[in-house]
């Protein structure tokens, strides 16, 4: 899927959350979105996901816009936020069953068990989602999108709550998706993790796109551009 973002802008009240963002994403790209708090990362992802309508500019997915009732298009978009989008009082497996069915990809219990195996939640299949630990919730969301395999997968700060093995699971999944030509967009503050896999980095600051390059080794431009957003003393070299 080809994505073109043109002069995108989003204003909340008197505040520009995003200002003329222009981007073009090709199949197989793994884009890291970086930037300080309030830069507009989440807003950008939500606009790409069609959850927020832009104030100006356009987002085109294969030339089509995510307008009302573009349901066919929506099957191709995935949005992973660690804690959200799960029904507290449905069990783990019920959640997966419900959402896969919602995407017209009803899965049998076998497929669901397998997905849970991969994120090793199999033993918690009948637990209410509310009773999972934060990292387990994130794993559950991963399982969900593993089952649905969207063309475009947006992730908002996925590393925060995951432990080591969780990170492994996620990275394996994302790499696989990239290899299959899917587009991955990850917004995160965990530079080292996200840059490990990404093929391209975008830096937002106060709603403006200040940096957008294909990854390279070494990467002086990036080090320079991102330097100011690192904690004091923490130096980071690509």
């Amino acid at each position: 899927m080809h994505i073109t973002v043109e002069k995108l802008a989003k204003a909340y009240g008197l505040l520009w959350a995003l200002r003329d963002i222009t981007l073009a994403l090709k199949p197989g790209e793994f884009v890291a979105i970086l930037g300080p708090n309030g830069a507009g990362k989440t807003t950008l992802l939500r606009i790409l996901a069609g959850l927020v309508s832009p104030t100006a500019g356009s987002v085109k997915l294969d030339g089509a816009t995510l307008s009302h009732g573009a349901t066919a298009l929506r099957t191709k978009i995935g949005f992973l936020t660690p804690a959200d989008h799960l029904y507290d009082n449905l069990t783990v497996s019920e959640n997966l069953y419900f959402f896969t069915s919602l995407y017209h990809q009803q899965k049998n219990s076998h497929a669901i068990d397998q997905a849970l195996q991969q994120v090793n939640l199999a033993d918690r299949a009948d637990e209410y989602a509310a009773n999972l630990s934060s990292g387990m919730k994130c794993r559950l969301s991963i399982a969900k999108w593993q089952l649905l395999e969207p063309e475009l997968l947006l992730l908002d700060e996925p590393y925060g709550v995951l432990d080591g093995s969780g990170v492994d699971v996620l990275e394996k999944f994302l790499q696989g998706q990239c290899a299959m030509g899917r587009i991955i967009v990850v917004a995160s503050h965990h530079v080292s993790r996200v840059l490990k896999l990404s093929s391209r980095a975008v830096i937002l600051n106060r709603g403006r796109l200040t940096f957008d390059e294909i990854k390279q080794q070494p990467w002086p431009n990036f080090d320079k551009a991102f330097g100011e957003f690192l904690p004091q003393g923490e130096i980071w070299r690509s």
Binding site: A49, G50, L51, V52, S53, H68, G69, T71, A72, L73, R74, T75, I77, F79, T81, A83, D84, H85, L86, Y87, D88, N89, L90, E94, F98, F99, S101, L102, Y103, H104
Partner: protein
């Protein structure tokens, strides 16, 4: 048909969440009984008067449960941004509307099925033969209520002061439904048949149809930011 399958799925989810256990049905039952007790304490009615009060009392009970249901209708979606999850998905917004209305409808119908016979027993009314007609009227009225109520509560879902005006406009629309149903019931209870309440019935029917279609059509506009 996709729309119906999706609605069914969403309805399944809501019912599952609501009736995690049979208890909920029991709850309904005792709830119904309770209402009648309360009624009886409020106006301990003379048997002959009960018959003419019945429509009001019954509707009172139904409105109460209905509104309780509406107030909580989108509760599951409010938690964990699950509404976003639904809007993100390719599910037809019309299906969402249908599911929610049906959910509330089911809730109310269960209560009605409990309350009406109980009412007849506890206030020992004789006219059992009229129950079918009454059920029909009630059903039509209930559908109208749920349909309109769902739209209204979807609006209030993320409402700030401004949008709140809309439900204030919507709610008065409920009055025709109530008027119609009560007139019908009265007529049935008095004369034993619909007779000259037929026009009211037609009104009800058209009301339901109109707002059902309207709902399915405009719901995506209503519910998206």
């Amino acid at each position: 048909m996709a729309l119906l399958r999706e609605s069914y799925l969403l309805l399944w989810k809501d019912l599952l969440l609501e009736l995690r256990q049979r208890d909920s049905l029991l709850t309904m039952f005792f709830f119904g009984t309770l209402l009648l007790f309360v009624f009886h304490f409020s106006f301990d009615p003379a048997p002959e008067k009960v018959a003419e009060m019945a429509p009001a009392l019954l509707w009172l009970a139904f409105l109460f449960t209905g509104t309780l249901g509406l107030a909580q209708l989108f509760q599951p979606e409010r938690e964990n941004h699950c509404l976003d999850a639904l809007l993100l998905s390719p599910v037809d917004r019309g299906a969402l509307f249908l599911a929610k209305s049906c959910f509330n409808l089911v809730l109310m119908i269960v209560v009605e099925i409990v309350v009406i016979p109980l009412f007849w027993i506890l206030f020992n009314l004789r006219s059992w033969n009229l129950l079918p007609q009454l059920f029909l009227v009630t059903l039509l009225g209930t559908i109208g209520f749920c349909v309109l109520g769902t739209i209204a509560s979807a609006i209030t879902l993320r409402a700030r002061a401004r949008e709140l005006l809309l439900p204030l406009v919507l709610f008065p629309l409920m009055i025709p439904v109530i008027l119609a149903t009560i007139r019908c019931m009265e007529n049935v209870l008095r004369t034993g048949e619909f007779g000259d309440a037929i026009p009211w019935l037609r009104l009800l029917l058209s009301f339901d149809v109109i707002f059902l279609t309207v709902g399915v059509l405009i719901f995506d506009r209503v519910i998206e930011n």
